[in-house]
């Protein structure tokens, strides 16, 4: 069950990243590019966490990927509010 869920979540993140890339190409909105990268990192995080069978996330590099992804999203929000006076 966990394998299936982990795989599905990974694919889900990847598909979402794909859509964000498409939206970035269509609208030239930097936020979408950053979201795409963030979701790619989340996909990578999910895949690695499972492949490495890492249970204790907080103390590992893998958890860092997840935190990095959300930091990127935070960056996207900040960027959105800073540019264009």
């Amino acid at each position: 069950m966990i394998e299936f869920l982990a795989g599905a979540v990974t694919v889900g993140y990847l598909l979402a990243a794909g859509f964000f890339v498409r939206y970035w190409r269509r609208t030239a909105e930097r936020l979408f590019l950053i979201f795409a990268v963030a979701f790619l990192l989340l996909a990578l995080n999910q895949a690695l966490a499972h492949v490495l069978a890492v249970v204790s996330e907080p103390n590992s590099f893998v958890y860092g990927l997840r935190a990095l992804a959300f930091l990127l999203i935070l960056l996207a929000i900040v960027d959105k509010n800073l540019k264009r006076p």
């Binding site: 939206y23 269509r26 609208t27 909105e29 936020l31 996207a76 929000i77 959105k80 509010n81 264009r84």
Partner: protein
């Protein structure tokens, strides 16, 4: 760069005043595609009839572009937006407010008189829906 709220300036001066912000908001919220517009117009042409999705598809002049499932989904969206009502036999054109009725009639008029313009607007608004995702992250409201 384009503003968050679509401002239709690509069409001739005669139509400008008709494509109001309210009308554009109506399209953005209720009419996701050209096929959706055609479906609603087809239902409006027969206001007394209750049509199933399959029957509604038959009413379309070029009905080959939508599947029955897609038509059903669109009709349910229209119902949620107060444009159609669901009866025993199917869906019936029944705008809940006079404003919705006016918008729907405007849609039909635009489709008949300025189809290319309407289609361009629909695609521009689709992009603006995507843009609204990005705009949602703007902390201070733009107006």
């Amino acid at each position: 760069m384009e503003p968050a709220q679509p401002r239709i300036r690509t069409i001739g001066p005669l139509e400008d005043a008709d494509f109001t912000d309210e009308f554009c908001r109506f399209i953005q919220a209720a009419i996701p595609s050209v096929e959706a517009a055609e479906l609603l117009i087809a239902l409006a042409r027969r206001p007394d009839a209750e049509l199933s999705p399959a029957a509604a598809l038959r009413e379309l002049s070029r009905g080959g572009t939508l599947s029955e499932a897609q038509a059903a989904g669109l009709l349910e969206t229209f119902q949620a937006r107060g444009l159609v009502a669901r009866g025993g036999g199917g869906f019936r054109y029944a705008p809940a407010t006079s404003e919705l009725r006016a918008h729907a009639e405007m849609l039909a008029q635009a489709y008949n008189q300025r189809p290319v313009t309407l289609i361009r607007i629909l695609y521009a608004l689709r992009d603006s829906r995507i843009q609204s995702f990005a705009e949602a992250f703007r902390l201070r409201k733009r107006r």
